[in-house]
């Protein structure tokens, strides 16, 4: 067996490593598998009490990183001053659980 074949044959360590990484993520997600869905509903309810929003113009996404995961919530709020024309104005909420920090930016609120 050539050296190339020797290393090529040893695919089990790759399987093992891939599983360890994958399962670490899946076990975390398992306890709150629909976290994004729940967050979406609750955030919409809170914001909806104060401003009218279009549920279709809401984007929620989560990026899982090693030490910090980020949750990005983009909610488009129609601006009463600009009924038509002009650049769309956004308000955006960024929540980063790892740093326990909530930032808000935007001009619509």
């Amino acid at each position: 067996m050539s050296l190339f074949n020797f290393f090529r044959g040893r695919s089990a360590p790759i399987a093992r490593e891939r599983l360890q990484i994958l399962l670490a993520h899946e076990r975390n997600a398992g306890s709150h598998s629909d976290l994004l869905g729940v967050l979406r509903e609750e955030i919409l309810a809170v914001i909806g009490r104060h401003v009218s929003i279009d549920p279709d113009r809401v984007q929620i996404k989560m990026d899982r990183g090693k030490s910090v995961s980020t949750l990005a919530v983009d909610i488009e709020i129609p601006n009463r001053d600009h009924v038509s024309g002009g650049a769309p104005r956004y308000s955006s909420l960024t929540f980063e659980p790892g740093r326990d920090l909530v930032r808000m930016r935007g001009s619509g609120i």
Binding site: G9, R10, S11, A12, P13, A15, R16, R18, L19, Q20, L22, L23, E26, R27, G30
Partner: protein
């Protein structure tokens, strides 16, 4: 006190039904009363693997619906009289399997048997969750392969949250049964080793069943491998696993394929 076991895996084709039949026969070998139940409604196969496919009259759903009494649906094995089969329905709607219905059947079986082994369907749908629902202990059948290990991990999570025992705050005993294992391929680094799988799933090991042509041969002839060729390597591994279930301490050996072939030749000469 009856023990209710679920044989489960998440992934299909890893050997749940084969293992249910083989362990059922191994446990019943000394006259211990064992019933194996097929929970795969619509796709039953335990009857076929046990060689009882032509003897099915009533099934689990019939009993749940009150169409038949439990003793009418139970099929006694022709080779081992303490081994019984409760087949699944082949045609009816899966929704006929109800939580209360399954609870009643299992309670009734607890009066009559020492071991009740529930053969779970693949997946995490109703049949699978009901098969594990009332279990005291679970056997998780895993192949040393990535998709099987991942699905086993998922099933372990469900066992710890969706069973009656887990909901009561009790611990459900979990045992890992690694099937289709090839020690030579693992030694060459071509297959996840036993240690790899145990480390990833951190679940106690019940047994290691080697990859063997005897397993296919047993299903071809409709006999649990522990009955069709009790001296073969997989059968020995299943017998050891059954003894561990009964609480015996047996050292874990990694059976090799060669031993199986040797034993087969030996068994033929002896016969």
């Amino acid at each position: 006190m009856a023990q209710v076991l679920v044989v489960t895996s998440g992934k299909g084709g890893v050997g749940k039904t084969t293992s249910t039949a083989a362990l059922g026969a191994a446990l019943a070998h000394d006259g211990t009363k064992v019933v194996v139940i097929d929970f795969d409604v619509g796709l039953r196969n335990l009857d076929l693997v046990m060689g009882a496919e032509r003897r099915v009259v009533f099934d689990l759903i019939n009993v749940i619906n009150g169409v038949a009494k439990l003793p009418q649906a139970l099929i006694r094995d022709r080779r081992l009289e303490s081994l019984h089969l409760l087949p699944a329905s082949q045609t009816r709607d899966k929704d006929a399997l109800t939580e209360d219905g399954v609870a009643k059947v299992i309670d009734e079986l607890r009066e009559k048997f020492d071991w009740i082994i529930c053969d779970s369907p693949a997946g995490i749908e109703r049949g699978a969750t009901l098969a594990m629902r009332y279990a005291d202990a679970a056997i998780i059948v895993t192949n040393p392969e990535v998709s099987s290990v991942r699905d086993s991990d998922r099933i372990i999570g469900l066992l710890d949250s969706k069973t009656v025992k887990a909901e009561r705050g009790e611990r459900i005993d979990k045992h890992l049964l690694i099937t289709r294992y090839s020690s030579s391929r693992a030694a060459r680094g071509e297959m996840l080793s036993i240690d790899d799988v145990l480390e990833i799933l951190s679940t106690p090991l019940l047994g290691i069943i080697p990859e063997s042509q005897e397993v296919l041969r047993a299903s071809n002839v409709g006999s649990p491998v522990t009955l069709s060729n009790p001296l073969s390597a997989p059968a020995c591994a299943y017998f050891d696993a059954a003894r561990r279930l009964k609480g015996e301490q047996i050292s874990m050996s990694v059976p090799s394929e060669n031993r199986g072939i040797f034993n087969r030749l030996f068994a033929r000469k002896a016969a």
